[in-house]
Amino acid sequence: MSDEDEIILSELNDEDLVAQMFDDLYDGMKEEIEESVNILLSRDWEPYRILTEALVGGMTIVGHDFRDGILFVPEVLLAANAMKGGMFILKPLLAETGAPQVGKMVIGTVKGDIHDIGKNLVGMMMEGAGFEVIDLGINNAVESYLEALEAESADILGMSALLTTTMPYMKVVIDTLIEKGIRDDYIVLVGGAPLNEEFGKAIGADAYCRDAAVAVETAKTFVARKHNQSGATA
C-alpha cells in the first residue's frame, strides 16, 4: 500500500472508525485497535460503548465467519489478541465508569489440561458481554474451582477441556458441588472440542457451549432466568 492510501485513523469520523475497527479486528491488527480505542475515548465515548459497539461488534463478525468456515483458528486468535489490546485499555475504565455487570463467572481448564485457547476466547467474549470473569487459568483441581466460586460469590462456573482423558474431570467437580449441597447455587457451563451436548447432560452441567458466542448467549439466558426466579421467590 502506498502512503497515499494509508488510512489515518484519527481523521475518520466515528462511524467510519468503528467500521475500520471491525476490519482491523478481523485482520488481527492489535496496535491499530489500541489506537482506535484511544481515539474514541478522546472523543468522549463511554468505555462500555466502545467495548460493545466496536470490539464485541467486530468479534461477533469474526465468530460468525469462524463458525461458517470462512476464518480458521489462527485468524480467530489474532483477532482475539487485537481485542485483548483494546480490552486492556478499557478494563480499568469500565470499573470506574460503572459499566453494567451482568454476572460473575469463574472459568478454568480442568485438571490435567493445559489447552486454554477456547477458555480464553470464552473469557474475553464474556467480559465483552458485561460479565466479570475470574480466570483460574489451566490445570484446575476441584478445590481451586470451589474456593474461587465461594470467594468471588460467582454466578457461573465455566469448565473447559480439550482432551478426552481430561473431560471426565468435569463430572468430578459437579459431583463435588452436589455433595456439598451447592450445585444449584451456580450455573455450570462446559465446553471444549471433544465434548457434546449429550456429555454435558450426562455429567449434570446446565449446558454445553460449542463456542464462545454460544457460551455468552447461554450465560445471559441462564442469568436472566436465575434473576427472574430470585424475583419470583423474593
Partner: protein
Amino acid sequence: MIPAADPKAGRILLLACGALAREILAVNQASGLDHLDLQCLPAIYHNHPEKIVPAVRDAVAKYRGTYAKIFVVYADCGTGGQLKTACRDLGVEMLAGPHCYSFFEGNAAFAANDEITAFYLTDFLVRQFDSFVWEPLGFAKYPAKFDVLRDMYFGHYTKLVYQAQTDDPTLTQLAETYAERLQLPFERRFTGYGDLETELTGLT
C-alpha cells in the same frame, strides 16, 4: 455348480488413520500378518477429529459385506468417546487408548507418565510437520505474528517429545529443528510401535 471361494474369507480389514499407514504396513510385514488388508481414511483427520466418526461409519458400511471382520485402527483420537460408541453400535473393535502418542508409548506407560506439558511428534508428524502443524496453526501464513501465535498455542508446553517409531537420524534431526522453531526443549524417546504392534499381532 461349485461356488467360487470367497477371496476375502478369513481376512481382516484394518480401517485405519492414514497417519498410521506406514507403521501398520511395517508391523504387518515384520510379523508376517498376511491376513490383514489395509484401507486408510485421510490422515488429516488427525487435525479434524469431528470427521472421524462419520467417515468410519461410512467405511464400515462400505466394507462390511466384503469382510467378516473389520478392525478400526484408531484410538479415541479426540472424538470424546464417540468413536467408541460408534464402533460398539457397528459391532467392530478398535484400538485401546486416547491417541497415537499413548499407544505408541504403551497406554499404561503413557498414563503413568502424566506428562501434560509435553508436545508430541511421531515419525509421521515429523515427516508431515509443515502440513499438519506449521501451516494449520498459521505460522506459515502469518510469520510476522509468530510470537503471538506461538505463545497462544505453546505457552504452556515445556518440551517437545519426539516419539520415535524407528531409528532414523534424519527424522531425529528434523524433530530437533522443529523443537527449536517452536522454542521448546527437545527430547527424543524411542517407542517402537508399542501397543499398535501388540494389537495387530493379536488379530485373528
